[in-house]
């Protein structure tokens, strides 16, 4: 068998272009698989570990104010293993060297010891001294984004009063792995952060001395959280509790869960393409090797090698390729995984996030690669086994080209002889032609997707920042204010236009389903903040009742005419009812909407608003900011220009990396398939092409026969590729749509053109490289040998 093994290697070397293509394409599939499965596992494990070590809360509850001693009653609820009562709130920050006010979530630290629930991991510095009211920890993302140093001072407006805070440490918490400002779509790590400070100082600032307004719980394993939530709600009912909730309503954990889901989709979906195509490539190459080896197979059998030995011999080549692809893909997947982990680390703040795929992942990848090789080589190996020794030794008859269908005949009668050769070969080898077409189509599809994401993002940003939110700043107040506050804001420097706004955080109940959402008050004829659909048309608030975004209506199983129960989660925790007036399709946000005055009346605060939208004179931007930094009543200020900038930065980095990966994979796919098709076409047609040269056809004319076949297959791939890309794109957009956006599918003509151009470019490059074989055709040699 030694000699035969050497022959396996020599066969692979002879088909090295095909082997290379197969290893690359299959390697890509393995790489994506290792990356996605490994990344998912790493995130999942890191999350689990982080949550366990740092005691991530199982339940949380917000309330208006409860006396500190209630904590004992909460701890006594059966199934609760730990409680931490806290003071939390929002604050406006005046960051050194930054014009615009930023904001932060404030969370208290217990006076003695570390938090029993939602503990912190200290990245730098030390814990605040409980006797020093001004010492704080800030979250690492905010600190990094703003370049904070230990000892630096921040000015913060808490509950209308300005405080100077000193950073003594930088920390992460399982509660804030992913940080977004309430109601914001994208993280703005430099503009919204978390500040932890001593319980007493924070309570004093919020007039909550001896009391708390937030509690987090750890539960004993295997307990019924529904019962516990009910017990907590009962205990806290007198204190304005907004109801205990699970992790699925904790924003950070919810984002993480969604990300894990998307990785799972990616792991299932993208590698499949590559693996299936690789299987076909294996099949085509092996079929070719075996066809070229008929007489060798006959010889082996005549010498007495068993069918099994012959099958093993040819399967070995395929298995070697699988092993090569698994090795290459594992290394590439590991590298990509590390790259991805470092991108994740910027958004998901774990104390330490490392890409680590288990041995099982690599073993699984190898298993899939081997399965792909076996599936691909099956028919070819069976053909080798079936070959009778005598038949194998006789020279093969010329490849038979039977009569074609009438349609094909009449079509080919319009062609010149060279084009007829191309057409007949495509039809004669349908599986191979189809593999090439499908492979190139998939490459086009992946590229169409890569071109669609930026277009969707661009559209989303355009709608959000140009069509919908035309204000420069949105200010939100600590408490609801009289409408007359509009005049006060109008008098701030640089203000050109002010419109009132109102938003209430609520839980909507219908048909046994409950969803926490924002109920947004819309101003009829608003000029600044408007609700816009995918066609860029303004959605007007209903005259009466509530408008639900379609995604929300589906979650609630609600249609027009249905009565919703509406439960306020902040303030007085009012419970009220309203009817669904209509279903709407806003492009950004999937909330509930009402006419602004109707909303204020519904919340029993007629004439009160919770914020304003402002248009500014750009020349007075700095003066305006200086003025609002001092404003006591502000809970937050959101700047459209900054939001747009950070969204664009996030997007460029995240999508930039992804698009680079897509582009590389798509070119491997298109190039690999085209190369392998071109190489086999050349190998099979070498004799015919040389004959054409002998007969006096020029290199150009002969190249046409070779390149024309690929060109035809490439062109055939355009339409299915574009259709597949569009369908997959629409499907992915639906999949990625969440509570915050409904992603539209954006037809991006330039993106399609680039996709088609790039894929066909890869085909052309492959064709041109293989075409050089035409220059090396051996005219004399071809006349000596039979086929």
């Amino acid at each position: 068998m030694r000699v035969l093994d050497r022959k396996v290697l020599r066969d692979l070397w002879r088909m090295r272009i095909n082997v290379f293509a197969i290893v690359l394409v299959l390697g890509c599939g393995v790489a994506i698989l290792v990356m996605a499965v490994g990344m998912r596992g790493s995130l999942e494990r890191t999350r689990l570990n982080y949550y366990a070590v740092y005691k991530m809360a199982d339940l949380a509850v917000s309330l208006v104010r409860a006396p500190a001693n209630i904590a004992n009653a909460l701890a006594a609820v059966p199934g609760v293993s730990a409680v931490e009562t806290r003071v939390t709130g929002l604050a406006l920050l005046d960051l050194p060297g930054v014009k615009e006010p930023a904001s932060a979530h404030l969370v208290s630290l217990p006076r003695i010891g570390r938090p029993r629930v939602n503990d912190l991991s200290l990245a730098q510095g030390r814990w605040p001294d409980p006797d020093r009211a001004d010492e704080v920890l800030v979250n690492e993302a905010l600190a990094t984004a703003n370049g904070f140093q230990l000892g630096e001072e921040l000015a913060a407006t808490l509950h209308g009063q300005r405080h100077t805070l000193r950073i003594v440490g930088i920390a992460n918490s399982p509660e804030f792995v992913f940080v977004t400002a309430p109601g914001e779509i994208f993280p703005q790590q430099d503009r919204f952060g978390v500040i932890w400070m001593g319980e007493e100082a924070l309570a004093r600032a919020y007039d909550l001395e001896g009391a708390f307004n937030n509690a987090v719980f750890r539960l004993s394993p295997e307990v019924d959280s529904v019962k516990i939530k009910r017990a907590i709600d009962v205990a806290l009912a007198p204190y304005g509790s907004a109801g205990a909730y699970d992790r699925d309503r904790m924003p950070s954990d919810r984002f993480l869960t969604e990300e894990l889901g998307q990785l799972a989709t990616m792991a299932a979906f993208l590698p499949t393409f590559f693996i299936v195509i690789a299987a076909f490539l294996v099949n085509i190459s092996l079929t070719r090797i075996i066809a070229a080896e008929r007489s060798n197979i006959g010889l082996l059998k005549a010498f007495g090698y068993s069918d099994r030995a012959v099958a093993t011999h040819y399967a070995k080549g395929a298995l070697l390729m699988a092993a090569g692809a698994a090795a290459l893909g594992s290394v590439a997947g590991w590298l990509l995984g590390r790259m991805m982990a470092s991108v994740y680390q910027e958004y998901y703040r774990f104390p330490r996030l490392e890409f680590e795929a288990s041995a099982g992942v690599y073993a699984g990848a190898l298993g899939i690669a081997v399965a792909c090789a076996v599936a691909g080589s099956l028919t070819a190996v069976i053909a080798a086994v079936r070959l009778a020794p005598a038949a194998a030794l006789a020279p093969p008859p010329p490849t038979s080209f039977g009569s074609n269908s009438a349609m094909l005949r009449s079509f080919s009668s319009h062609l010149d002889a060279k084009s007829r050769i191309i057409l007949r070969r495509i039809v004669r080898f349908p599986r191979r032609s189809a593999t090439t077409v499908i492979g190139i189509s998939l490459a086009i599809a992946v590229l169409v997707l890569a071109g669609t994401f930026p277009a969707v993002m661009e559209r989303l940003m355009h709608v959000n920042f140009t069509e919908a939110n035309r204000q420069d700043v949105s200010l939100s107040f600590v408490d609801a204010r009289e409408m007359s506050v509009v005049h006060g804001v109008m008098n701030l420097p640089g203000v050109i236009l002010v419109e009132p706004g109102r938003a209430d955080r609520v839980i909507l109940h219908h048909a046994g389903k409950s969803v926490e959402e924002t109920l947004i008050g819309l101003l009829p004829d608003a000029r600044l903040s408007r609700l816009v659909d995918a066609r860029l048309e303004v959605i007007h608030p209903p005259a009466a009742g509530i408008a639900l975004a379609r995604a929300l209506a589906e979650k609630l199983d609600a249609s027009p005419g249905d009565l919703l129960e509406i439960e306020q989660t902040r303030g007085r925790r009012l419970i009220t009812h309203a009817r669904v007036a209509t279903i709407v399709d806003p492009m950004v946000g999937a909330s509930a909407y009402m006419e602004i005055d109707a909303l204020a009346r519904l919340m029993r605060e007629p004439g009160l608003i919770t914020g304003v939208n402002v248009r500014l004179d750009a020349a007075q931007y700095d003066r305006f900011n200086a003025a609002i930094k001092e404003a006591p009543a502000l809970a937050g200020a959101s700047f459209i220009n900054l939001a747009e900038r950070s969204m664009r930065e996030n997007f460029d980095r995240g999508v930039g990396v992804m698009n680079f990966i897509y582009l590389s994979f798509a070119s491997v796919m298109a190039g690999g398939v085209a190369f392998s098709a071109a190489r086999i076409t050349l190998a099979e047609q070498e004799r015919d092409l040389a004959t054409l040269r002998v007969l006096g056809f020029t290199r150009l004319e002969v190249s046409y026969v070779l390149v024309g076949e690929l060109a035809a297959l490439g062109l055939l791939a355009v339409v299915p590729g574009v259709i597949a890309g569009t369908l997959i794109g629409e499907w992915l957009m639906k999949l990625f749509s969440n509570d915050l956006y409904s992603f539209p599918y954006v037809f991006n003509a330039a993106g399609y053109a680039v996709a088609i151009g790039f894929a066909l470019g890869c085909v052309a490059a492959a064709a041109m490289l293989v075409r050089t074989g035409v220059d090396r055709l051996d005219m004399v040699g071809v006349l000596k040998a039979r086929d």
Binding site: T399, I421, D688, L692, G696, F697, V780
Partner: protein
Amino acid sequence: MQVTEHSGNPTGDLTYALRKVCKRYGDGTAAVHALRDVDLEVKPAEMLVLLGPSGSGKSTLLNIMGGLDRATSGEVWFGNQNLSSMNDDALTQYRRKRVGFIFQFYNLIPSLTARENVELVNEIADDPLPAAEALELVGLGGRLDHFPAQLSGGEQQRVAVARAIAKRPAIMMCDEPTGALDVRTGVRVLEALVEVNQRFGSTLLLVTHNADVARLGDRVVRFLDGGIRSIESNSRRAAPSDLEW
């Protein structure tokens, strides 16, 4: 087409004039001298048979004269053009316009029918015979739309003959055209060749290792070890049907 003029046309009325043509494969001790100092003249419309044992250099010479290969040294004149000094493109044009080839293994394009194999070459010829007519001439009028896989060896070779004659070539080069055929089919192929030679006045170069086939030629060039051993004229050309082998 690149044309190399020569002051005193070396060929005169001749079709080919070969001067000291050598062909060497490889270098040094491993060198094989496939042709040594071959001098040969070929007259217009002549039927010249190159006869010799296997390995004596016949195919090598034919390939050089057909513009498929180049001599290592020496001159190969076709009319007033020196094939030895032509570039690749000029040689391609020479084959395309002047030469019709027929090979031992037919070299048909398997994806084209008999008719289309002929049309393939007609598409690049100046004044070709219609494909059906050419196939009629070799007795294949009834098998126009068959693919090579559907034809016997003799039929395939006759398609090759039709393909070669359809462009009315000045020269026909046939390398062992009957080498893979039995007698009866071989005779039919040879008949077709002789017919063309007489009808169109093409110069016909026929390579064979079969002394009997050599009786067809006006002259017979005997090869041995890469050199011409003798050239004989046949007083009377035999008819293909007289041959026995």
